[in-house]
């Protein structure tokens, strides 16, 4: 029961989605399953928050190294959560001023909004911004033109880096462009493609599309086969070790 029921649930849910794709009459079944899936996704956010709470509390109670940081995380979490769930400082919906809870939780000026604006925004965007430093360091240390393959990779990166800025246009401005020519010949097209901005487009449209399309086809087949294995119960790894 502990293992058979989940297998059945997964198969039924999955095949309902597949059947709904082909038979219009069953389309609403697919919608219902999708809506339930969306609700569970939202509940998973709560699970995530609960899990964070559990892990941090454990860290603090065990006085593990760095427990003070866990306390900071916990305080930030609890304050933000309280402000958001209780809609602290939020005014009611304009059309329903008598209903105190009818306003939105992230209204401008509320503590929840303040924490988003002055904590989440700077922290998240700066954490992502740091990658610029590491990509520069990696380029200096790791990109070596050791063989044909590496030269192709580096060459393309150069063309893209130059071609997608004003430098590309400036450097190859002397090459005649085919844009203004009426009915250009093959050679005119070819020469015009040597302009860095056009070369970028050419590489992206043809070579990059070809490479990524092949990767896409491969991933699609892989995804389809893994999905089918799960739905047919061949792959049961998602059920865990089965010790309990």
């Amino acid at each position: 029961m502990k293992r058979t029921a989940p297998l059945l649930i997964a198969s039924i849910a999955g095949f309902v989605m597949i059947v709904a794709y082909f038979i219009p009459r069953t389309q609403t079944w697919g919608e219902d399953v999708s809506v339930w899936f969306d609700i569970l996704a939202a509940i998973a956010f709560i699970l995530g928050g609960g899990n964070l709470l559990r892990v941090q509390l454990k860290k603090i109670s065990d006085r593990r190294p760095g427990w003070a940081y866990a306390a900071i995380t916990l305080i930030a979490f609890v304050v933000m959560l309280t402000c958001g769930l209780l809609k602290i400082g939020s005014h009611p919906n304009e059309q329903h001023p008598a209903f105190a809870w009818s306003g939105t939780y992230n209204q401008t000026g509320t503590p929840f909004w303040w924490m988003y604006e002055y904590l989440i925004v700077p922290l998240q965007s700066t954490i992502f911004a740091m990658l610029a430093f590491y990509v520069a360091s990696a380029a200096f240390r790791a990109f070596r033109a050791k063989n044909v393959e590496a030269i192709l990779l580096l060459g393309t990166a150069f063309v893209i880096l130059l071609g997608r800025t004003a430098a590309g246009v400036f450097l190859t401005d002397f090459i005649p462009s085919d844009v203004l020519i009426e009915d250009p010949t093959f050679m005119q097209h070819l020469i015009s493609t040597l302009r860095l901005e056009n070369l970028t487009v050419f590489l992206m449209d043809i070579f990059n599309t070809a490479g990524n399309r092949a990767i896409m086809i491969g991933i699609a087949l892989g995804t389809a086969s893994v999905s089918l294995k799960i739905l047919l119960g061949v792959d049961r790894s998602y059920l865990g070790s089965g010790e309990d």
């Binding site: 809506v35 996704a41 998240q124 965007s125 610029a132 520069a136 380029a139 004003a166």
Partner: protein, 291 residues
Amino acid sequence: MFELFRNIDRRWIFLMMFLCVAVPIFVIGKYKTTFPEKPLVLATNVFNEIDNLPDGSRVLLAFDYDPGSEGELGPMATAFTRHCIEKHHKMYFIALWPLGRQMIDNAVNRIIKADFPELRYGEDYVNLGFKAGNEGVIKVIVTDLRKLYTTDSRGTATDEIPMMQGIENIQQMDLVINVSAGYPGTKEWVQYAVTPFPDRIRLVAGCTGVQAPLLYPYIPQQLPGLLAAIKGASEYESLVMAKYGGENISGKYLEAQRRMGPQLVAHLLMIFLIIAGNVIYFVERRRGVRQ
């Protein structure tokens, strides 16, 4: 000199990168000039898709990004919103990312409320807000929008919103515009909305640099226009401003074009670093062979 560069502390490289970005920002910010922009075909396609729609068309704007990618995608969202306003399109905002909800609020506050206060909520634009479920949300709203969106983000019943009258699903939108930072994003819109309904749903997108190359196989059949990274944003922004900007363009509508300055200098630094790294590599290899 060679030895110094070979053993250089990576923090010096970080400092170089910082300066290459900071100095152009300072100079451009002071003098308020930008590089001339030459829009290429994909950005022009995006512009035309929106511009060629009859005035007052229904446009779904899906803002699937967060502050982590606002540097690249914020200017696109601004330009998309401005373009739709100029065309008097009816804007339906939604988000598949939790923080996307804030991105919609940003667009509404910074552009609509600040510069176009005459636009009325519920008649000219509506914020349907965020729903959890990633592609599961797209899967539902392509056939039944109200199954998930019973209210808008403010808690007003969907049926009471004038511009929602008669909208059953997003197949009734004249165009879907997606600003995408990853999963879920443009790929999912192509997979779950455009591909099953190729004649009814048309999509254009703006995406991060990381995603852009991966989306090229969808062009043009499944995705007629794509703004790739900040350069795409800059090209599109220049097109919108050239047609609708007027004489004095506010700095907030030139954000992407301004950012092409630090972009240029930092790209040149990257090329320099790769060349320098390779010079060191080849010199070392030659020395190794000699020894």
